[in-house]
Symmetry: C2
Subunit: 228 residues, 2 copies
């Protein structure tokens, strides 16, 4: 077992993305960062507005080097972010509890990404395509099945995106790292793994349409947990 | 199917915890809030420090009306929070993708809690008991099995707690809510459920101790997804 992040670690893009606490868990590799983002359906956005700091969850998706979020024009979150607030976006997957012989060396396995920067508005003429990309993530082909947004629905929707350029991943994988002196203690040690699992689809009571392939596949799909 | 939060919703404790966007998803009931916190192993903490806003994941546990976090004295997160930074703590569980006939009415089922306030230091003499409570959450009895922290380890550990008094939950449950005009469209609609699942424990390669009951039970335990 090994706590090093995957190969390919490179330099932090900025001082504030430099992982300092247990620095060997930091990783600035684009593929690693993208993989952690792509395994998530939501992110948490930290920002300040109206004299308070906020930390709000919202659905997200990635396209190339941007993370996208969307919602109603009336959302306070989107209004504050569209006005150019400085933000820190975080995505975290918990992969397991790490049980060491000593209480002190208990830990968790996880994969997280933080992104610093500002959101920008996605232009009106690009919004339909951006929403199609999000729909494709839900199910390939669904962007042609579901009724597309009409002009009023499109106008009522704000889409924002943030560059993933200023980002860092932090990852812990592998088993416990006990002190040499504790190795002989009669204490169970190892990992209690966990991850996101898909369950059987639930068809709406008033729907008689047969499930498309992506619905049939849902519960069989691989877990989002990427590292053991 | 129903998107109302569980019975018992009461008033928001403060204006900034008042859920405004789709207000009927807001919930200020203590038991509901505690249940969402107790299903989580980690939270995200939003705060400002050194001229930037940050959003950092960290392990957490609840005891009565406080949420606890801990870590090394050297952690920048804990240093900033122990200095009394205003924070917003958020916990989110994603329970499913909601597929409607129209792209516009697609949604997610989720349970989230936000807590506003400031962390305070847990006093030195209370730290051992607070850490025991966290260990009990990992496995009942483990607080007596694992080697307890020695004075140096205790001194190197900061424990902070924040009152859960200024908190709000936001919850969506149930199926899609399509427009009347879309109900006859030949589009599969329903919920693709997901949740946190436990997997088989992995014993450390250098450990020959038989698994205690809480390790044996781990993979059989109920999912954290509370609402369908």
């Amino acid at each position: 077992m090994d706590i090093s992040p995957p190969a390919g670690a490179c330099a932090a893009p900025t001082p504030r993305t430099q992982v300092r606490r247990i620095a060997e868990r930091g990783c600035y590799d684009r593929e690693v960062i993208d993989g952690i983002i792509d395994a998530a359906w939501h992110c948490h956005v930290g920002f300040t507005a109206a004299g308070s700091v906020h930390c709000i969850p919202t659905a997200c998706w990635r396209e190339l080097d941007h993370l996208y979020i969307h919602g109603s024009n009336g959302s306070r979150l989107l209004k504050a972010l569209a006005d150019g607030a400085q933000v820190c976006v975080c995505i975290t997957h918990i992969d397991g509890l790490v049980l060491a012989r000593s209480a002190f060396h208990h830990s968790m396995n996880y994969r997280s990404v933080v992104i610093y920067g500002q959101f920008e508005r996605v232009a009106e003429d690009v919004k339909p395509l951006a929403l199609q990309h999000f729909m494709q993530r839900v199910g390939r082909g669904r962007e042609h099945e579901a009724r597309a947004p009409d002009p009023n629905e499109l106008a009522a929707t704000t889409i924002l995106r943030i560059s993933t350029a200023e980002a860092a991943a932090k990852i812990r994988i592998g088993g416990p790292l006990d002190d040499e002196a504790d190795l002989a203690l009669p204490v169970w040690s190892g990992v209690l793994p966990m991850g996101t699992q898909h369950f059987d689809p639930i068809r709406a009571a008033d729907c008689s349409v047969e499930p498309p392939a992506y619905v049939d596949r849902w519960a069989k799909e691989a877990l989002t947990s990427g590292f053991e």
